[in-house]
């Protein structure tokens, strides 16, 4: 590959959503040269779809809020499976990361005294989400985009070149990470526009590629969400954890078919929307699980009062964490009480005036009016669960976001641990900010620590990467399968994969179906290898999909394997054959990795990092009993237990 285009940087960031851009800004501000590789055009990342807001305990609306409450809410939401150190860092640093955005030019909605306004959201005890109407994600991306432009203007002033230290490579897809021995040496990819290959040589690579939703049939995710970072990390020798935990957002649009899966923001419920079944009943009151019984209203009247007086009333169960609401909707539909197109009704028109709805939920109002011909200020509308987020991801060090592969970092949705078994709404955007910045710092420190020693990619690896990327142009069904069948169409294989994952690895899972899914995934792998593409390399979506398919299959296999292994129901993983949460599984992370030197995946059990006593002390003993095992509780109760002494209370 002597003619291969090559670029050298200190840090390569793969992904240009919130996490990737925050990481890139940090590494550049620390003086390193950074390239951002972006699968779409710059500024189109899936982060723009985030609606509700950024969770940060600034206490602008309720001054009782503080990082400790945010910590407890997040751990409770994640069913105590979260990496507690990540949750702690997240809760402590989110507010600073939000305030920093204002210095980049972001314009959040305001409180009466001119501070950043904060709204209620499922699972958050106080109004906590900084927001801009219902387009917070767009504001975040635009703010970062403009901050990057400002850094480039600084570089232009200093070096006469906007791209001297920070360059965005738009419409660039990475197909493989390259290594030198154990350490990362760079990334290999292609320009979508020309199909030409390119090598980015860099000692540090930050994965910020987002999620995996495109493996499912009904999803709120865009075409980019094909699990690229998860698969790249796996193939480079990193670990994936918690892959069985997938969040199905309870309220996606379900009608008409063209909008199926598109998100209806949780703010609709946070601002007063109620869920009803075909009998007109507010069914969520029947679905408050024991662990949450003390935190939610028991009657409609109390739930209704909460919107006016949050001090003296409990919140309505429509605001339970997402996994609970999604399962409840699923149960109602199964019981025959669903809406005409297989969902339930969400109604915001009874509580809010049309003017308030249009002001607070402008995008939702427009989205329904223009895409579905439904006026949400006047009528209830149908919603149902949609694949939204993967809690699982690349295992990283909580402080630096480094993986077990030297030089490989991950942040944002592609990383795992922060959200445990279920993510609270609003914690994703704050996750991007907190851990994006930390990954940028982590990578910068790693690169500085290397000195002049730069790892180099081998010619053989580059040859292999190029050959693999071109395989879909040479797929020969006859040679591989011994049949005379026509080569596979990548679009058909993709559709079939989505069907398998939705039918067999969806919201409610059972052993026989997960086993069947794993068998079917093996067949799909063979078919994907036979997927052939027409035409040439210039902006050819069929080719791009054929390459993405391999990543989707890797991730789907991890997901199904982990889901089969975990014999309990917790957060975003519900087993019909193991319907309850089992404290013995609370302490277990399922780690998925490739057996070194092979293509075979293995699962190993690893303990969830211990929750520090001072952090455990934030919970009532009564609540901990629902999550911890008897021996864990005994340790807590022993007189030597550090929790009985003063813990750190920063």
């Amino acid at each position: 590959m002597s003619t291969l285009e090559k670029h050298s940087y200190d840090v390569i960031v793969i992904g240009a959503g919130g996490a990737g851009l925050r990481a890139a800004i940090e590494a550049r501000e620390q003086g390193l040269s950074v390239a951002i590789l972006c699968k779409s055009l710059f500024g189109k990342a899936h982060t723009v779809m985030a609606e509700g807001g950024i969770a940060a305990s600034m206490g602008n609306v309720n001054s009782k809020d503080c990082w400790q409450v945010h910590f407890a809410d997040s751990l409770r939401g994640g069913k105590f499976l979260n990496n507690p150190r990540m949750v702690e860092l997240h809760a402590k640093e989110a507010a600073d990361r939000v305030w920093e955005l204002e210095t980049y030019g972001a314009l959040f909605d305001r409180t009466k005294d001119g501070k950043i306004s904060q709204r209620n959201f499922g699972g958050h005890e106080y109004p906590r989400l900084a927001h801009v109407g219902d387009r917070t994600g767009l504001e975040l991306i635009r703010t970062f985009q403009q901050k990057i432009v400002s850094l480039q203007q600084d570089d232009f002033a200093e070096f006469g070149d906007h791209e001297a230290r920070l360059k965005v490579f738009a419409e660039m897809t990475v197909t493989e990470l390259v290594k030198d021995g154990d350490a990362i040496a760079g990334a290999f990819g292609y320009y979508r526009e020309t199909g030409a290959f390119v090598l980015f040589e860099a000692p540090a690579v930050i994965l910020a590629t987002g999620g995996i939703g495109k493996s499912f049939k009904v999803t709120s995710n865009s075409w980019e969400y094909t699990g690229d970072g998860h698969a790249l990390a796996l193939r480079a020798g990193a670990n994936l954890i918690n892959m069985e935990f997938v969040q199905f957002h309870p309220t996606g649009m379900i009608w008409p078919p063209s909008v199926k899966g598109i998100l209806v923001t949780e703010s609709v419920r946070g601002d007063g929307g109620i869920l009803t079944n075909s009998e007109g009943k507010r069914f969520m009151f029947d679905y408050v699980p024991d662990v949450f019984i003390d935190q939610y209203a028991k009657t409609e009247a109390e739930g209704d009062r909460w919107y006016e007086d949050q001090e003296n009333n409990k919140r309505p169960p429509e605001l339970l964490p997402r996994d609970e609401v999604a399962r409840a909707i699923n149960s109602e539909v199964k019981a025959g009480r669903g809406s005409p197109h297989g969902g339930v009704f969400l109604d915001v028109s009874t509580r809010l005036s049309p003017e308030v709805i249009k002001r607070k939920l402008p995008s939702m109002y427009t989205q329904f009016l223009e895409l579905a011909d439904v006026d949400i200020t006047a009528t209830p509308f149908e919603v149902g669960p949609t694949c939204h987020y993967v809690m699982g991801g690349v295992e990283v060090d909580a402080d630096t976001e480094e993986t077990c592969v030297p030089g490989l970092f991950a942040c944002g949705e592609v990383s795992g641990g922060m959200h445990g078994a279920n993510r609270l709404g609003g914690n994703s955007l704050s996750d991007l900010l907190v851990f994006g910045m930390r990954a940028g710092t982590g990578a910068a420190e790693y690169v500085r620590g290397l000195g002049d020693k730069r790892p180099a990619a081998s010619e053989a690896d580059l040859e292999a990467a190029g050959k693999a990327a071109l395989a879909p142009f040479h797929a020969d069904a006859q040679a591989r399968t011994g049949t005379t069948a026509a080569p596979e169409n990548p679009y058909t294989v993709h559709t079939d994969l989505q069907q398998v994952m939705s039918d067999l690895v969806g919201i409610i899972r059972r052993e026989s179906e997960l086993t069947e899914a794993l068998d079917k995934l093996q067949v799909l792998r063979v078919r994907a290898d036979d997927a052939a593409v027409e035409g040439h390399r210039q902006f050819n979506p069929g080719w791009h999909l054929a390459l993405d398919l391999r990543n989707m299959l890797d991730v789907s296999e991890c997901l199904a394997k982990s889901a089969l292994e975990r014999h309990e129901s917790r957060g975003g993983h519900t087993r019909e054959d193991y319907p309850t949460m089992d404290p013995n599984w609370r302490g277990v992370n399922l780690v998925c990795r490739l057996i070194p030197g092979t293509d075979t995946m293995e699962l190993i059990h690893r303990p969830v990092p211990t929750i520090r006593p001072d952090l455990l002390a934030l919970f009532d003993r009564h609540e901990l009993e629902k999550y911890l095992t008897a021996p864990e509780l005994a340790v807590l109760d022993s007189p030597q237990s550090p929790s009985s002494v003063e813990g750190e209370q920063a």
Binding site: S258, L263, N540
Partner: protein
């Protein structure tokens, strides 16, 4: 309910191309992007098209539908007569890369020329105080999803490629206005920049940009006209600039 509909889709690249006829199934409740995806999955796997969110939020799937700059994900098929042949062509103001994909780098270059937000001196993170009514003016422009339909339709550049050097286009005039109206931006030369560097004088207020904006931003009335007024007055009268920071137009 579904029917077969006729489409003319532009296929080609920078060396040229032409409209190709396709017959594609259309189902109730679908948008044009659904049909383009079906065409891709069943008849033209290498059809070049950009899209991301499919919900009118990312501004990727811009194209010209029967000659009108539109987002394909927001173009409902029931707005056409079932017997009508619908033409889908790439944005005309930008060079074609392939099929419906155009080179929009012009916009990123213009974005880079605008001086960034300039934070107020002596106000630390967490100390920013602004009133809702004041941020709303700039927030309107920050709704922009950068679909570049306004850039495409604007005839200052649509039919006059040579104007691209001197003219930033509506998208970046609202960026200038947004910064000008930002309650805490410390620069005072946004309007002068719009005149001297962005070519705001070339705009003759035909409001085509406002008409195609999928976010319904009042580009002309709320951004370009106020900026034009300030361009004239500002140098001579700082009170006009101050006044411009207070009022807002509604229509």
């Amino acid at each position: 309910m579904s029917h077969q509909a006729e489409f003319k889709v532009w296929r080609g690249d920078s060396d040229g191309g032409d409209l190709k006829d396709y017959t594609v199934e259309v189902n109730d409740g679908e948008v044009l992007l659904d049909v383009i995806h079906r065409l891709q999955a069943t008849q033209a796997p290498d059809l070049g098209v950009r899209w991301n969110c499919k919900a009118g939020k990312c501004g990727s799937c811009s194209a010209e539908v029967n000659g009108k700059p539109s987002l394909m994900c927001m173009t409902r098929m029931n707005t056409f007569d079932p017997n009508e042949t619908v033409s889908v062509t790439p944005l005309r103001a930008f060079p074609v890369i392939r099929d419906l994909v155009t080179d929009v780098s012009f916009n990123y270059e213009k974005a880079r020329q605008i001086p960034a937000f300039s934070p107020p001196e002596g106000v630390g993170p967490g100390e920013y105080r602004m009133q809702q009514v004041d941020v709303e003016r700039s927030q309107e422009f920050r709704k922009c999803i950068e679909c570049f339909l306004c850039q495409d339709v604007c005839h200052v550049v649509r039919d006059h490629d040579d104007n691209k050097q001197a003219f930033a286009g509506p998208r970046f005039l609202i960026r200038a206005a947004e910064l000008d109206m930002h309650p805490l931006d410390s620069r005072t030369d946004r309007a002068v920049f719009a005149r001297d560097e962005q070519g705001i004088g070339l705009c003759n207020i035909t409001k085509c940009c406002t008409e195609v904006c999928p976010e319904h931003i009042k580009i002309t009335d709320n951004a370009i006209i106020p900026m034009k007024e300030r361009v004239v007055d500002k140098k001579y009268d700082p009170l006009v600039w101050l006044g411009s920071k207070i009022g807002i137009r509604h229509d």
